[in-house]
Subunit: 252 residues, 2 copies
């Protein structure tokens, strides 16, 4: 059992809050019993499971298990209400070639999203809509960051996820033969004027600055018509509106 | 100019982070230039405007203006990146009798929402959908709390807002002659199987525990069909999906 907060393994976990250390080690933090359980169920490779004294491991976990004192766990935890379970998991390859789609697939392209909480919420929403994949184009924030893990509520582990530059993603969408719809507040047609029953890839950009020009050369612009004083919809809300329109179109 | 963090007016602002002090004084905090500007534009009554030295007041503001030193502003601010503008505004009456609806109105009922960030995001989403009103049923969190103000991005000021017990809200909905749809993961029919072109009131409950039984005795249950591993959709995403279905139905 580790009882010293100065233990090198404890310091190693704390360092994983920084992207550079995640990139260097190919590992990331999955904090929380529910999150660790979902990671295991989704087949994520767990390197080490840290348990606060007295906690039992989530079912089915195959990992090096390390007991730690409450003080040590408190140092490793980045949560407001820690539950005594924290896994260090191995990241995986996000290469687009690994993402297979079929005819009529539904895909969410998250383009240039900056806020980890927004990216996590988009993953959760896309998961609920039953997408075939989420693709990160020109990713700004690291999908393996702790705030993405938390906001995705485990969907990070279960949704097929790829990443690449905008040009790479466009080439992949072309090979997958998917019609691309770019959401934009200045598009002439409303999103409900199109038929998505044959599948679609929806491109959602950051709330403040919107999408870069490359997307508009390659996709059909669609607008979510907005009333009121708010500048824009939250990116995960916008994703939910267009993705569920496609879900409804397939069902109708 | 106030230069002492111990000044009673400074302490009074800090106390407004607590609900009890907001209730006692009938005032609340609107921090940020953008937020204060939106409050003024929406006709919110500003009691005092605190400006960090060198900041100019938002246009059109009619309030007691107090300059404060950077150290004093830092004490009053609850933000990560303060911009030197903080207003103390007067709350207003949320009585349901003040909320007028017309035939075919679109209303969001936020029932028992606990997280201020979720309530703020629901207000922002409802505003973008152009609802006639947002009604809080059995409100748990204070709509005048600082995290609601922030997450709503100013929609708190512009959306007609009422509040009451579930029974009071149901009586109001009945008088308004609005058809009530209660979102539930166990409902038999999907939300897209109904026609909302004649108006609707959508009831959304907290993500974890869902809606209380009273709602199901009085409304038509509808389901947002969910795939994947995530337990549920975020409340503001669920609100966006059903509200924009009604917006689309009116337009189609």
């Amino acid at each position: 059992m580790i009882t010293s907060p100065h233990n090198p393994r404890v310091k190693g976990v704390v360092r994983l809050r920084k992207r550079r250390h995640r990139d260097d080690t190919g590992t990331f933090i999955v904090e929380g019993r529910r999150e660790a359980t979902r990671a295991v169920a989704a087949g994520v490779d767990i390197a080490t499971l840290f348990l606060q004294t007295g906690e039992i491991p989530p079912a089915g976990i195959d990992a090096d298990i390390v007991d730690v004192s409450p003080a040590v766990f408190a140092k490793m935890s980045a949560r407001q209400g820690p539950d005594g379970v924290l896994a260090v998991a191995r990241t995986w390859d996000l290469g687009l070639d690994r993402i297979k789609t079929t005819t009529g697939a539904l895909v969410l392209v998250a383009a240039g999203i900056e806020k980890p909480g927004n990216l996590g919420a988009m993953l959760r929403t896309a998961d609920a809509a039953g997408v075939d994949a989420v693709v990160l184009a020109d990713p700004v924030c690291d999908p393996f960051g702790p705030n993405v893990v938390r906001a995705s509520q485990g969907s990070l582990f279960s949704v097929p996820l790829g990443a690449g530059s905008a040009a790479e993603v466009l080439a992949w969408l072309d090979r997958a033969d998917l019609e691309v719809f770019t959401t934009s507040p200045t598009a002439e047609t409303a999103y409900w004027e199109h038929d998505y029953s044959e599948g679609a890839a929806f491109v959602i950009g950051p709330e403040d600055v919107g999408l870069s020009g490359l997307w508009f050369e390659s996709g059909t612009p669609v607008r979510i018509p907005m009333a009121g004083e708010a500048d824009s919809l939250n990116a995960s809300v916008a994703a939910g509106i267009v993705l569920f329109e496609a879900v409804a179109a397939r069902s109708r």
